[in-house]
């Protein structure tokens, strides 16, 4: 069953007062997320991955395109209908310290969600809060603490408890561990995997960290300057990536093996281009080691290589 379907999604932000410039943050992407899977969205900062997550939840309005949640066209919903659907689609943000209200105790923060969406009856709220707190691996004594009294990892657990309070089916996890230490990161990722198994959750997992994506995602989409350039199963992307950018990205990941230190890397020249005037043709051609004439003028189409492995590159068309 398909949980999320995105068709030709675009989001242009305008900037400048007199001479309008458009930042093409997301520029025509399509993909599907299947129920129960973790779909990883990976790319460097500024490639538009966070914007995609926000568009799907309709936290911001797209410029063009369609988004379906279990065949419901989200963009066609009225405000009231969208509000009713909200509990089913949730988001875990990157920085837990700033996504929790600093003046509310942990227990109040969680209870607030239960009250707002009338998840349980009033006299059951306390019981439910304790159940949620324990589900994310915290102690009931944490209920009376404030966010500043907890560590970053513990606050992220609270943020996860608030999301779980609504019994969601689909969760966007936007860099949920990028501000955390290695071991705390492992604790949170482990928790998310356990919860997914237990509750049958579907994730859109957004990250710039390929090592994290590798252990979390079933399928991966690689994004570059507002476009998807490769999509496939995690094992296919890591063992047989096709796009030169994906290959460079993978080879750039430092490996935790001193013996493999001298592994030849593809070190890309330059930096990601400015999305205000993204290059013509293939957007990656300015940094691509295999660029040819055609890449400068014609944008490559996404083509299917073999079941479900798609790539947008002239080398394969």
């Amino acid at each position: 069953m398909i949980m999320i379907r995105v068709e030709n999604l675009k989001k242009y932000f305008s900037s400048g007062v007199f001479r309008k410039k458009y930042i093409k943050a997301v520029d025509g992407i399509s993909f599907e997320i299947i129920k129960g899977e973790t779909f990883g969205l990976v790319g460097e900062s500024g490639c538009g991955k966070t914007t995609v997550g926000r568009l799907i939840l309709r936290l911001i309005e797209p410029t063009e395109g369609k988004i379906f949640f279990k065949n419901i066209n989200i963009l066609g919903l009225s405000k009231e209908d969208l509000q009713k659907l909200r509990p089913k689609m949730q988001i875990i943000f990157q920085d837990p310290d700033s996504s929790l209200n600093p003046r509310k105790k942990i227990g109040e923060s969680i209870a607030e969600v239960l009250k707002l969406h009338k998840i349980v009856s009033k006299n059951k709220i306390k019981e439910k809060v304790i159940e949620l707190i324990e589900m994310v691996g915290l102690n009931p004594e944490h209920i009376n603490r404030y966010p500043h009294e907890l560590s970053g990892g513990q606050n992220q657990r609270v943020a996860i408890a608030r999301v779980l309070a609504m019994n969601p089916e689909f969760i966007v996890a936007d860099e949920p561990t990028s501000s955390l230490d290695l071991n705390v990161q492992a604790q949170i990722l482990f928790l998310l995997r356990e919860l997914q198994k237990k509750l049958g959750l579907t994730f859109l997992f957004i990250s710039h960290n390929l090592e994290v994506i590798k252990v979390m995602a079933d399928r991966i989409a690689v994004m570059y300057l507002g476009k998807l350039i490769e999509v496939g199963k995690t094992s296919e992307i890591f063992n047989g990536s096709k796009h030169p950018y994906t290959q460079a990205l993978l080879s750039a990941v430092p490996v935790l093996d001193p013996e493999a230190k001298q592994k030849r890397k593809i070190v890309l020249e330059g930096e990601i281009s400015n999305p205000i005037n993204s290059p013509s043709g293939c957007r990656f051609h300015t940094r691509c080691p295999y660029r040819e004439k055609i890449c400068e003028n014609i944008e490559p189409k996404m083509i299917n290589i073999r079941d479900g492995h798609q790539v947008a590159c002239h080398l394969y068309s």
Binding site: E44, S45, S151, G153, Q154, D181, L182, N183, V184, Q185, A186, Q187, L189, F190, H208, N209, L210, E211, V212, K214, V215, A248, L249, S251, A252, V253, P254, V255, L256, D257, P258, E259, K261, K265, V267, L268, E271, I272
Partner: protein, 315 residues
């Protein structure tokens, strides 16, 4: 030959909340041409250790022990002597280039400072030197870029400028504190390559302070693992990754995504309220009675592989 030898270093901060015991009886040796990685989680005291070498700590710090640089104790010399060493013989690359660079001065003005200060060059000649340095760290069109301000540089370029500044006087020792934090992987790969080349060509030693195990693997010869203000394991990179001995080192490696993502339970202790005995015992699955009361000593279990744990302390 030994370049830097830290002996019994202890750094405590007096604060309103109590005494923050950031560095506790640390011994470390860096040989000439060596790259030592100091790894540990947030709040384990690794940055404080780095800053104490250059005497850059705030006034409420109480420092004990010795930091011998070429036989000279850096904690005893005068401020004037220290200033001659700082930036010239021992340089630091800070983690956040945007906050470490002065936003109202051009890159050229800031980077020329070490040349004017330590080599007595005139401004004009110093700027020439800066342009050479920027070229070395592969910043495109350096003679124009030298007139720009930090905000006109991208994150990767700012970090390169920081590295250029750190290396400006060809220091004998570079202290690099999380030099690739917040950079994208493709840019990170460029910076790693650059640092490896530059330290090799200038024969500098380096102390790399990081929480990123993969980065340490890429750049270091030896690794010291820090936990709650103490060095708990030390060894060559190969030995340490193949054969980690301390339960914390083992746990840290196992929590890495590429090693199966098996988290340790619990969190690092606060430096104000450290546990008795072995600092890791409340989280250690193999803790014994002795671990709660006595601090384990550093023992050499194999050649140049040291560990601070009662599992290996047979006396």
């Amino acid at each position: 030959m030994t370049l830097l030898s830290i002996q019994n270093l202890r750094v405590h901060f007096l604060t309103e909340d109590g005494i923050v015991k950031a560095v506790n009886d640390v011994d470390l040796v860096i040989d000439e041409g060596d790259t030592l990685g100091l790894i540990g989680e947030t709040g384990c005291g690794k940055t404080v250790l780095g800053l104490s070498i250059l005497r850059l700590l705030p006034k409420n710090a109480r420092i004990e022990g010795k930091i011998l640089y070429r036989g000279k104790d850096l904690l005893k010399i005068s401020e004037e002597e220290m200033r001659k060493i700082r930036g010239k013989e021992i340089a630091m690359i800070f983690q956040n280039a945007l906050t470490s660079l002065n936003p109202v001065l051009t890159i050229g003005t800031q980077l020329s400072e070490p040349f004017e200060l330590h080599h007595g060059l005139k401004k004009k000649n110093a700027i020439q030197k800066v342009i050479e340095m920027l070229k070395l760290v592969q910043i495109p069109s350096p003679s124009e870029r030298v007139r720009e301000y930090p905000h006109e540089f991208s994150g990767g370029m700012r970090q390169r400028a920081m590295i250029a500044m750190g290396l400006a006087c060809k220091p004998f020792l570079i202290i690099a504190d999380e030099p690739t934090k917040g950079l994208d992987v493709t840019i990170q790969a460029q910076i790693i390559d650059l640092m490896r080349e530059l330290t090799k060509s200038s024969m500098s030693s380096m102390l790399l302070i990081t929480h990123d195990l993969s980065l340490a693997t890429e750049l270091c010869d030896n690794i010291a693992v820090m936990y709650a203000g103490e060095i708990i394991e030390y060894g060559s990179i190969k030995e340490l990754f193949k054969n980690p001995k301390h339960p914390y080192t083992q746990g840290l490696l196992d929590s890495h995504p590429s090693r199966g993502l098996k988290p340790m339970h619990g969190i690092s202790p606060s430096l104000i309220n450290l546990p008795e005995g072995c600092k890791f015992h409340p989280r250690c699955a193999l803790a014994m009675k002795v671990c709660k009361n006595k601090r384990p000593q550093m023992v050499e279990i194999e050649k140049k592989h040291f560990v601070r744990c009662f599992l290996y302390d047979y006396d």
